[in-house]
Symmetry: C2
Subunit: 187 residues, 2 copies
């Protein structure tokens, strides 16, 4: 419980009673390794926070499974388009390690955002952070070579390489498994 609270406090301060109301809306799950969190083509109702463990957000394109995001301890994740547009997501999510998850339902988040200006502000800041991340990532994908994208990952999240199978990392970085392997072997 402590770490979700800390993570939220880092984004935006809440007054004690608002914080209590908001935190109590979050549910908890303990999931084993390789367990589904969200089935593909369903509406994603939750924003998740992974207290501990690893999860993979993926989808299928032309018969291939693409890893769209990898979430490790202390990160928020969700299917953006599905959660906000309330439409079935092409995304699936499953755990890669045993995981402690927290999640807040769309309806609960929205009614709290309606009731508390501070929660609305928190939501706005969460989305802003996510948008900034998305911009940086887009730039990387569009204008960096495969080598540069790998180097960037090593610089920012080296632990990901230890904990996640290379196949997933490859597609997360927008390259094939073979290309990633060659980059890692130093050509």
């Amino acid at each position: 419980m402590e770490s979700l609270k800390t993570a939220l406090a880092r984004i935006s301060a809440l007054s004690p009673d608002t914080e209590a109301a908001f935190l109590s809306a979050w549910k908890s799950w303990t999931l084993p390794k390789d367990h589904p969190v969200l089935r593909e083509h369903t509406v994603s109702d939750y924003i998740y926070f992974i207290e501990k463990g690893a999860a993979r957000i993926f989808y299928t394109k032309n018969g291939k499974t693409i890893t769209e995001w990898l979430a490790l301890d202390q990160q928020f994740f969700l299917s953006i388009t599905s959660f906000f547009q309330r439409s079935p997501s092409h995304l699936g999510i499953h755990t890669l390690e045993p995981a402690e998850l927290r999640g807040i339902h769309y309806q609960d988040f929205m009614s709290l955002a309606d009731r508390y200006h501070e929660v609305e502000r928190l939501l706005r800041k969460m989305i802003t952070d996510s948008l900034i991340l998305s911009q940086v990532r887009m730039d990387a994908i569009q204008f960096e070579t495969a080598q540069q994208r790998y180097d960037r990952l090593m610089a920012t999240q080296p632990e990901i390489i230890q904990r996640v199978p290379l196949t997933y990392i490859a597609s997360f970085l927008g390259m094939t498994l073979e290309t990633l392997s060659r980059i890692r072997s130093g050509k």
Copy 2:
């Protein structure tokens, strides 16, 4: 004035007095063709709305000028990272056609968002829309061929081809001018 109001109403409803307060914070500019809106490496203080005309958001990478976004009539645009992080932007912005611009300053937007819950909600929805767009675009860049990206642009914003020089469109689509030219000629 009417169209900014309409565009905002489409995003989120405001009560009459909140709307009046909010709209009055927007400034107006009339700019000629090929006129700078934001100089590179400065802090971007405004969210812009282009009533009429065309603008180009760009930056320089390895000595090349990359078009990051093209905004035509009735669109909002801004340097996301600079505006929200209050840091100098690598982005520059200039007009491609004579343009009627509206803009709201960071400080004004934020203090209105602080004062009015409804403005905070509007801001949240604007950012959400932008995030969804960003996700869709990222997916296109990462997993579609040059041909598919061109086809998508033709399907969604065909008028852009008529109004914007191909060099800019090419880099907006993440390909070289030559590649775009060959795609257009049907190989």
